[in-house]
Structures are given as C-alpha cells and as structure tokens.
C-alpha cells in the first residue's frame, strides 16, 4: 500500500498546482485607491507579490511644463490630498532655491506649523486606514473625528480643508488669521488627550498587537537597498530624518527629537512601523507648540511674503523634504523662462510600494493588509 503511494506523492511534489495568483485590485476594499497587488499564495501563505501602479497617471509632470511657476502651486496640492501642504511647500522651496532667495522668518515658521498640521492629519488618515484594514471600524471613525479638528485648522489658516493652495514662492499666501495660535494650541492639547483613547483601544489590545507583531521583518540594510524612506524606515532602526539631518526652513531652530525604533537591533516588524507614526504625531505636536511661540515672538506686522521674479534662471535645482510618508524630492530644470523645462517628482510611496514583494513574502494572507497599511498608500502622488 505504502509503495503504491510513492509515485503519487512524487507526482504531487512535481505538480505546481497548490500555488495560485490572487489579484487584489484595482477595485478591492484593501487597496485605498486604484492599484493592484498580485499575490502568489501557497495555502494561507504568500510566496510572492507584485504591485501594479499607474491606473491614475495624469501626466502631471508633463502638464507642469506648460504652466508658469506660480500656477503650478495649486497642482501640487493635487499630488496627494493628505499631504497637499508638504508638496506645495516642497515646490515653493525648490523654486526659491533656484531663484536663490531667502524668505522671511515668519513665513518659515508658518510653513513649519502648516507642515506639521499636515503631517498629523495625514497620519490620522493612515490610522483610519489601518483601522479598516484590521477590521476595527471604531478606530477608523475615531481617527477621522480627530482629523476633522486639524482640517478645521487648515480652514482657519487658509480657507480650504485639503487642497490648501497656501504656500507661495517667496513666503505664504496670508498671515496667520486672528486667534489661530489660540486655536492650534487648543487643538493640539485636545488631540494629545484624545489620542490616548485610540491608544487604549488598539495598542493595549492584545489582539491588535498580536496581529502586528512578528510579521514582515525588515532590516536596516534592506531598507537602504530598496529605498524605503519615511516612518517605515525609521521603524526599522534607520536614524534619518531630513527635518534634522538636512534642515530646511528653520527646522534647525526648533528643538525636537526624531522618533526612531530598534536603533540597536536594526530590524523592525510591522508593529514598529506602526508605532513610529503614533510617536511622530506626538512629536509634531511639540514642534507645533514651539513654532507657534516663535511666530508670536516675531510679532504681528512682520512680513510673511516677498516679491519674487517670475522668471527662474537657467539651471537645475534639487529640493527635498520630509513628507508624512517619506522623502519627497523635486528636481527642477529651468531654462530661464517663466515655465519649468522639466519638473521631476520623486514620490516616497512609489518607492515604498515596490518593497511590497519583500514585505509580503512569507506572511499570511490575513497579514497582507496589516503589512501594506504601513506604506500608507496614496495613488495621486504615486502615479502622478
């Protein structure tokens, strides 16, 4: 009997029937946006993954070549609706660098405040997505509720909730509105208390932690080789933050500590990549407090914007900034006219999502949403 089974078992080993490709997307509840994840699964385990992006390609970079510099700013808001402020900031910063001008101190601090508000609301959007991905809708709605207060701050500052159109080449569009500093301090205080509710709900829940722990380890070397940036990288022990290591716009005059996990072991799992964003939100609150104090010290009638020439001298400029999702880069090639010759955007997610093959290998199907939620997917900037 046993002998007769041997050829059957051998044939079973040769057959490749037990692995199959499952295609998640482009319209799948897990993909927050239009993208596809092809997963090769062996039972409950993933053996291979292949992300496919590009469904949302709008020709953004080409479109900028037909506009003058000032009119590209509203377009930068549309790169990512969660990080509109940082992308406008990055663009204005790059053009200022090309022009070789220095903007007023007040504008720099206002930009810091706006950036950190943007970072917190972007991270809250991510937290909401983690909630739905993990099957806990309460987290989703609580995080969205907290996010509303920061969107209200955006309204208070510039009149728009998400596509803000606030930074300008040479400063910011308008001064802080009356009582803005009072409102922002109240919001930040309130947020720090409310955040503990969410932390009690999920971080103290052993189910949630056991879903996140011990899956999808990434080493520091892997992060470097794959070009992973942002909070995901800092969770894996890489101590690098552009705000501190290549400071722009007075970030060097603000005292803050970059949260980094696993500095010693240099290996991080999904929970570390999750935790780093939570810590970053608290850190952003500190930065906001300091920057608001600096704005108050500068005084009310200080300039917040300077006039700039419309034409940018020929040459290439490289600007980079710490986006909520990673390292955003804009590379500007100007030819002396009032329109850019070429504007290249380096999206952090485009690089981060290419790591999904490494991140998904060996995890279970049920872990994939938890693992890929840490990329914080946003398709607008990925596909451009």
């Amino acid at each position: 009997m046993a002998d007769s089974l041997v050829p059957v078992l051998e044939a079973q080993e040769k057959m490749d029937t037990d692995k199959m490709w499952v295609i998640w997307g482009p319209q799948h509840p897990f993909s927050h946006g239009l993208w596809t994840l092809k997963l090769k699964i062996d039972g409950e385990f993933c053996v291979d993954a292949d992300p496919i992006v590009g469904y949302l390609h709008r020709g953004w970079e080409k479109e900028t070549e037909n506009r003058d510099y000032a009119r590209i700013i509203p377009m930068t808001d549309r790169l990512c609706y969660c990080a509109s402020m940082t992308y406008s900031h990055l663009y204005c910063m790059t053009v200022e660098k090309a022009l070789g001008i220095d903007i007023p101190e007040k504008a720099k601090y206002i930009r810091i405040v706006a950036d950190e508000v943007c970072r917190i609301q972007s991270h809250l959007m991510w937290l909401a997505a983690v909630g739905t991905d993990m099957g806990n809708l309460t987290v989703f709605l609580w995080a969205m509720r907290e996010r509303e207060y920061f969107l209200d701050l955006n309204v208070k500052l510039c009149g728009a909730r998400m596509t803000t159109n606030y930074p300008r080449i040479g400063g910011v569009r308008n001064d802080t509105t009356p009582l803005f500093d009072r409102d922002i301090l109240r919001t930040v205080d309130r947020f720090e208390k409310a955040m503990w509710d969410i932390i009690y709900l999920i971080d103290d829940s052993s189910v949630f932690v056991s879903r996140m722990r011990k899956i999808s380890y990434l080493t520091r070397e892997q992060c470097a080789n794959m070009g992973l940036t942002g909070p995901a990288m800092r969770g894996c022990g890489v101590d690098f933050d552009i705000r501190r290591d290549d400071p722009y716009d007075n970030y060097d005059k603000v005292d803050f500590e970059v949260p980094v996990l696993n500095k010693d072991t240099k290996v991080g799992d999904t929970y570390d990549r999750y935790m780093i964003r939570i810590e970053e939100m608290f850190q952003s609150c500190d930065i906001i407090r300091q920057a608001v104090k600096k704005i108050e010290a500068i005084g009310k009638n200080a300039p917040y914007r300077i006039k700039t020439p419309t034409k940018v001298p020929a040459g290439t400029t490289f600007g980079r900034l710490e986006d909520p999702r990673g390292e955003s880069i804009m590379y500007l090639a100007s030819d002396g006219t009032d329109k850019p010759y070429r504007l290249k955007v380096r999206s952090p997610i485009f690089t981060n999502v290419s790591c999904s093959k490494v991140m998904c290998e060996g995890v279970r199907i049920a872990d994939v949403p938890a693992v890929l939620a840490q990329i914080d997917m946003c398709l607008g900037e990925t596909d451009r």
């Binding site: 499952v22 409950e44 993990m134 056991s210 879903r211």
Partner: protein, 387 residues
Amino acid sequence: MAEYTSILDWINFGDPYENPFTPFLSDNLPYDICYGLWEIIGGTIAWLINLLFPGNPVSEWLVCDQVLVVFALVLFMLVIFIVAFVVVLLNLWMERKVLGRLMDRRGTMIGMKGFLQCVADGLKTFMKENTIPAKVDKMTYIWCVSLIVGLSCFVACMVPLSDRWYVVNYDTGLLIIMAFYALAPFFILVSGWAQNNKYSLIGGIRAAELMISYEVPMLIIIATISLLAGSFNINDIVAMQDTIWNVIPMALGFIVFFFCAIAECERPPFDIAEAETELVEGWQTEYAGMKWGLIMLGDYLRGSVSCGMVAIMFLGGWTIPVFGGTGLPEIVFLIKAWFVFFLMILVRGAIARVRPDQILNLGWKVFMPLAVFNLAIAVFLKVGGFY
C-alpha cells in the same frame, strides 16, 4: 367512514389536540392564536360563500376540523416567520445604533429612530437585478443559498421564545440546534467551490474550518449544561435555573460559549470568512441582490439563535429567579437575548479582526481545554450534590 362527503375524509386528522401527528399541544400560544384566528376568518368566509350559494360543499369543507388544522398551520408558519423576521430586524437596528454610538456617530436615522433603514435595505436587496455570473456551477450556486438560508431558518425554529411560544418541543432540543449548525459548513464550502472565484474558495474553506473548530467546545459546553440539567430539553434547562442562573457556577463556560457563539455566526472579530479587506466578501462574493440579502438574513438569524442559546443555557431563559414567572415570558427572553447581542456588538466595536491561525489556536488550545475544565467543574458539582 360512514358517510363519504369529500376526499379529505380519507385523511383523518381528528381532534388536533389528540392527534399524534401534530406536535402542537394546547399550550402552544401561537398555534392556539392561529387556530382561533382561522376559526373566525374561515368561518366568515364559509358563511359568506354559503350566503351566495346555499348548501354548497365548499363552505362546509372550510369549517371542518381537518381544514381548520391545515390553515392554522399555514398561519402559524406565517406568524413564526414574521416574529423571527422582526427580531432579526431589531437585531440589525440595534447593531447599527449601538455600533454608531460606540464610534461617536448616530447610526441610521431614517424613520422611527432609524428602524426603517433596515426595512429599506431589505427591500433594496429584493429590488436588485438577480445576476448570476457566467462561469459558476449554476445548480450548486443557487441551491447552496437555499440550503444555507434554509438551515438558518431551521435553527431559528428550534429556539422557543417561552414555554408556550415554540415551534417544536423536542427532548433533544439543544442537540438538534447544534446538528443544524453543524450542517452549514459543508454547504458553505461547496458554494465557495461552486462560484469559480478565488476569494470565495478561500472564504469557504476558512468558514468551514472556523465553524468546525468552534463547534467542538460549543458541544462540550452543551454537554456540561445538559449534565447539570439531566436533559437536553430546553424547557428542562430553563426550569432547572429557577433558583440560580447557570452563569454563576458556570462563568467559565459562559465566556467560552459566548465567544464560540460569535465565531459560529461569523460575526466580527471572528469574521475571517468574509474579511472584506482580504477576501472582498469571502464566500458570498459572487452572490448579488436578493440572494445576498437572504444570506444576510440567515446570518442574522444564526446570530439571534446564538444569543438565544446563551440566554437559555446561562441566563435562565424566560424566567427571573427572584420573581419567578412573569406575565410576558417572551419579552423577558428577548430582552436577555438582546443583552447578549449587545455584548456581541461591544466585542465587535472594540476588537480588531483575528487572524485565521490565531482563531484556530484560540479554539483548539484555549477554549477547548477551558470547556473540558468547565465540564470537570460540572461533574464536581453534580457529584457533590449541588445539582
């Protein structure tokens, strides 16, 4: 048969209360109501027909004992279904409202504190186009819905609302509920296979593995309770809790059974079979419109049955220890079942979805030993003479 008047005389129903083929005895309230109702309605119709065509056999046929039983049974089914349907809708409404409050929002708001939203959603599923994908195994695909939903209805029929409001009163009541529960995974697995969809296949396998693993501790707890009560009959189990609810000596069993019940009706956090971020809708992916609505109805029926079982086995069913019997035992029972459902909603709102391997570990390595330990406690209590 002395006088042959109609063909129905060949079928001798006799007195419904002494008929061995009718399981309904006189203490069954809904049947009594339906019997009386048809006496009035049928009598009126017969009287009207007799007014128009005096002396015809139809009117006499309508008021004879045998037809009375048949129509009373039809009305009885209708009443039972309506009550079950309303209970399910109330469960759905409660879930939406309580979950809404947990999440700092209002829940549904359309009509009667949002209750009409459930009705509207139910109607919507029936209005939708009844699409069947091209490459499914049509026979299996359609029949599996009927079988799964039918099994859920069967299970729902097995739970009495009180000692006077029931469909059947078997001596093996709890075992029959579990038997119908245990049949569902096979059909879910088959329907997952029949849909020719990878999500459905994975979902079907997950649902089957989940249900099969959680039925084992559930059965052990049922054995524990029936060991204490000395019977599988639901009435006996409720009657034995007239001094103290089982939840106090059997607290461990209550917790285990509660979580097993959540897993058994595939509710979050144990909804791995239809984990929407992974498998879209799991084994229900290819079912659209009315079929999906029926499956949802079946799911909620199973949910309310699980709550009813917890209420019967641990919370004293329709009795209250201090006050004894109440005037409206059905309402007491439903309030207890809804309280259990409320706990299920709290669990759903607070906990993230558990991974399949963690669920199986929990079922086999935690709940199973706890259930056996609980059985040991029950044996100790029984031998010690406390029961």
